[in-house]
C-alpha cells in the first residue's frame, strides 16, 4: 500500500512537470512572433520602473557620448535648415506646397530604459508609451541610424523590436546605386548586420552607405543603417552576401526618436487593396 502511495506520489510530480512544461512551451510559442500585442512584457509598469532605475545609474557613464552626438546632430540639422531656407526663398513661387506631405513625419523623443544586444531576439524598452502617442508599428531611430520598430506599448513605456532581432527584416537600399535589398541580422555580432538580395551585377565597394528605403512606410526614406564592411560573392550565387557595419553602436544607445508617420495608414491601405486584387 505504501508503495502504491509512493508511486502515485511520483506520478503526480511527473504530471505537474508535464503540465508546467506544456504551459511554458505555449507561452514561448505565443510570444515567438516579433510583433503583435502581448500581455506579459517589459512595458509592464513594475518591470519597466525597475529597468528605468537601473538605466538611470548607467546613464552617467554615457553622458559625454550622448552630449557629443546631440551637439553634432544639432549642427547638422542647423546646416540643413539654412539650406532649405535658401531653396524655399528661391522657389517660393514655383513650389506647390503640399502641407500633408511636408508634415508627414512627427518625432517623439524617448530615453532607452532597457537595451538587449547579446540575445538572438533583442528588444529595447523606451520611456514613452501610449500617453505620448506611441503606437505599435512605429519606427524608432537614433541620431546615428535606424534602431527598430515598436512592438507593444503600455501607458508610459514601449517595447521596441531592435534591428538586432533575427526575424526582423528591413527594406534597405544602397545609397550610391539605389539598389534595393533587405537587412536582416544573423544573431551573432551586435556590431554588424547583413544585407541580402543585392543581385550580382551591381557594382559595390567596401564603405558604401546602406540606408532605409521608402518601401515599407515604417521608416522614413534615407535613414542611415550602416556601411558595407565585407562583400562575399560565391561563384554560383545570384546575390551578394554583404556584411554591414552598423552606424549606431547599440552598446551606447541612450536617446532615440519615435517616428510617427501620418501617411502610413494611407499607404498601407492602398497597398492592401493591391494585394487583395491579386
Amino acid at each position: 500500500m505504501e508503495r502504491l502511495f509512493l508511486f502515485v506520489y511520483q506520478y503526480r510530480a511527473f504530471f505537474t512537470f508535464v503540465v508546467l512544461e506544456v504551459f511554458c512551451f505555449w507561452l514561448i510559442v505565443q510570444n515567438n512572433h516579433y510583433q503583435g500585442a502581448k500581455f506579459f512584457n517589459s512595458s509592464n509598469t513594475v518591470v519597466a520602473s525597475l529597468n528605468n532605475f537601473s538605466q538611470s545609474i548607467r546613464d552617467y557613464f554615457l553622458l559625454s557620448d550622448v552630449n557629443r552626438t546631440l551637439a553634432e546632430e544639432n549642427a547638422e540639422l542647423r546646416r540643413i535648415v539654412e539650406q532649405q531656407k535658401y531653396v524655399m526663398e528661391r522657389n517660393h513661387q514655383l513650389a506647390s506646397y503640399d502641407s500633408a506631405f511636408a508634415t508627414r513625419y512627427d518625432f517623439i523623443s524617448a530615453k532607452v530604459v532597457n537595451n538587449q544586444l547579446d540575445r538572438v531576439k533583442n528588444f529595447i524598452t523606451i520611456n514613452k508609451g501610449k500617453d505620448d502617442g506611441v503606437e505599435p508599428g512605429m519606427a524608432v531611430i537614433s541620431p546615428l541610424g535606424a534602431v527598430g520598430k515598436v512592438k507593444t506599448v503600455s501607458g508610459r513605456f514601449a517595447v521596441v523590436t531592435s534591428i538586432l532581432h533575427i526575424d526582423y527584416m528591413i527594406s534597405a537600399m544602397l545609397k550610391k546605386s539605389g539598389h534595393f535589398g533587405s537587412v536582416q541580422w544573423n544573431g551573432r555580432d551586435p556590431g554588424f548586420t547583413n544585407l541580402n538580395f543585392i543581385p550580382r551585377h551591381v557594382k559595390l565597394a567596401v564603405g558604401d552607405t546602406v540606408v532605409t528605403s521608402g518601401f515599407n512606410a515604417v521608416f522614413p526614406e534615407g535613414i542611415m543603417i550602416g556601411t558595407v564592411s565585407a562583400i562575399d560573392l560565391s561563384p554560383e550565387s545570384l546575390t551578394y552576401n554583404i556584411t554591414v557595419a552598423l552606424s549606431q553602436d547599440f552598446r551606447k544607445l541612450s536617446y532615440v526618436s519615435v517616428v510617427r508617420s501620418a501617411l502610413k495608414e494611407e499607404q498601407d491601405e492602398v497597398e492592401k487593396l493591391v494585394d487583395e486584387k491579386k
Binding site: T16, F17, L20, Q30, N41, D118
Partner: protein, 170 residues
C-alpha cells in the same frame, strides 16, 4: 519552519533582483552569460516537496523572463532542472545519506561533490535555454559554444558565491 520559509522568500527576491539588475548587463565576449539565479534553485533544501520545487522553479524562471523579454524560456528550463534535481540528488547520495533538513551546498558536502552536482544541471538548463532561444539547431555550433562558455561562467560564479557566502552549517 516558518522562519526558514520567510528566509527563502527573501532570498528569492535577492537572487531575482541581482540577476535582472546587475547580471543582465554582464556578458563576456557576447557569448558567456551568467544565470546565477539557478543557484537558488540548486540549493533549496533536499526535503522540499517536488511539486513545490517545480512551482518555485516556474515562478523564478517566469519572473526572470519578464525582465529578459523572453516569456516562457527561463521558466521552461528552470522547471526542467527542478524536475531532474531529485533524481540527480538520489543518484549522488553521499555516504550515510542526507540528513533531514540538509541542503545540497558546497559547505555541506565539499567542492568536488558540489561541482559534480551543479555542473550537469547548469549545462542542461543553459542548453535548453539557448537552443530554444535560437529556435532550433540551425546555428548548432555557435549555440553550443554559447552553452559551453555560459556553463563555465555560471558555474565559476556559483562556486565563488558558495565560497563567499557558505550559509549556515546545519
Amino acid at each position: 519552519m516558518t522562519r526558514v520559509t520567510i528566509q527563502q522568500v527573501i532570498l528569492f527576491f535577492v537572487y531575482l533582483l541581482y540577476q535582472v539588475m546587475i547580471l543582465q548587463n554582464v556578458v563576456l565576449g557576447h557569448t558567456a552569460f551568467c544565470f546565477l539565479y539557478v543557484l537558488y534553485l540548486l540549493i533549496l533544501p533536499v526535503e522540499t516537496n517536488p511539486l513545490a520545487l517545480m512551482g518555485v522553479g516556474f515562478l523564478l524562471g517566469f519572473a526572470v523572463d519578464l525582465f529578459y523579454e523572453s516569456i516562457g524560456l527561463h521558466a521552461f528550463a528552470s522547471v526542467l532542472i527542478m524536475y531532474l534535481r531529485n533524481y540527480w540528488l538520489n543518484s549522488l547520495t553521499p555516504q550515510g545519506g542526507y540528513d533531514s533538513s540538509s541542503v545540497p551546498t558546497m559547505a555541506m558536502n565539499g567542492i568536488q561533490w558540489f561541482v559534480v552536482y551543479a555542473m550537469p544541471l547548469v549545462f542542461i538548463h543553459h542548453a535548453v535555454l539557448f537552443f530554444m532561444e535560437a529556435g532550433g539547431f540551425h546555428m548548432f555550433w555557435f549555440t553550443l559554444w554559447k552553452v559551453i562558455t555560459s556553463t563555465l561562467f555560471t558555474t565559476a560564479v556559483i562556486l565563488l558565491a558558495q565560497l563567499l557566502f557558505p550559509g549556515r552549517r546545519r
